[in-house]
Amino acid sequence: MKRLLLPALLLASFGAHAVEYNTVIAEKSQIAFTSRQMGVPVDGKFGKFAATLNFDPAKPEAAKALIDIDLASVDAGSKDANDEVVGKGWFNVKEFPKARFATTSVKALGNNRFEAKGQMTIKGKTREMSVPFTYKPEGAGNATTGVFEGTLPLQRTLFGIGEGAWADTSVVADEVPIKFRLVASPGIAAKK
């Protein structure tokens, strides 16, 4: 009986540790960005996005994420900007309602830091990007969530975001860093 108990306990505790975060909690997650207009940082965010991810801290190389951002849900900092940025010269949400980021690989950099490589698709253009991010568990027991934070260094001109007169990067900077915070729970059952 004792012989059986020990491995069973070990297995149980191992099972509890091998948590895989796979359910993104939308209310706690956010995707924000900072555009620079004439050197002035202007904060914005996306109100609606759908993210799925699988991340097991013990096997980060196997991690995957797929993030779809509803571009019409943009808040670019003012009403004028919101009306402008959904239009043809910027996101053109009528033809391209979503931006998608799909990871292709994840590499552990140590110290809970990681680098995801993936493909970003906006306005029908797909570009390779690498995104540094951190992982931090929060809470304990069943309420444990994984918090993933990072900044995606987007260059808007690579995707034709802001065409014509707006392509002038001395007015609106090319770099629009996208800051994300994704909070995920292990979901209904941690898959083994």
Binding site: Q37, M38, G39, V40, P41, V42, D43, G77, S78, D80, A81, D83, E84, A165, W166, D168, V171, V172
Partner: protein
């Protein structure tokens, strides 16, 4: 005739601010109704940069005035006119601070910080708050129309004293034609 004048520095500050402020009135009225474009963003930035310049000049001007007593108004001026002039000038001193400050407050509240000349980020005076920002926008607008009215009154008074009364009031703010008269 030798008459007391403002110092060269006070004159420079006065006329420099006059040019800036008149330009800012025009630019502000013009740019506000433009549709969003890169041009509009540029003009807004120039307006904000120039506005902060006015605020800086206003500060220098007050400091200068504290240590340099302005020349008296001509004694020939009626007492009530002197009182009105002092009241008007007092109002202008308030407005050269209030006008740019209301713009700065409005920018902060609307979430568009001031980055002076595109390089020097100035602190936000208040946190982002859309409703307050819209209110401050109105405050900035009306305050500046009031400012414009006072500036017009100021200029009309100067014109009246120069060409109707011919009492030399305006000369106090103009460099002397004979250099030795300058202080």
């Amino acid at each position: 005739m030798t008459m007391p004048r403002y110092t060269r520095t006070a004159m420079l500050l006065h006329w420099l601010m006059a040019v800036f402020i008149l330009g800012l009135f025009g630019l502000g009225i013009y740019m506000a109704d433009l549709p969003l474009s890169p041009q509009k963003l540029k003009l807004y930035s120039y307006h904000k940069w120039a506005g902060i310049a006015v605020l800086t000049l206003a500060l220098l001007r007050v400091l200068w005035r504290i240590v340099h007593k302005p020349p008296p108004l001509p004694a020939s001026q009626a007492h009530w006119q002197q009182l009105a002039a002092h009241a008007g000038h007092g109002l202008l001193y308030v407005l050269i601070f209030a006008a740019p400050l209301s713009g700065w407050l409005m920018s902060s509240a609307l979430g568009f910080p001031v980055v002076w000349f595109g390089v020097l980020p100035l602190p936000d005076l208040i946190a982002k708050n859309k409703e307050l920002g819209e209110l401050l926008k109105l405050v900035h607008e009306y305050l500046n129309f009031a400012f414009l009215a006072v500036v017009i009154g100021h200029a009309l008074a100067a014109v009246k004293h120069q060409w109707l009364d011919r009492d030399g009031t305006l000369n106090r703010m103009l460099p002397a034609s004979h250099p030795e008269e300058n202080r």
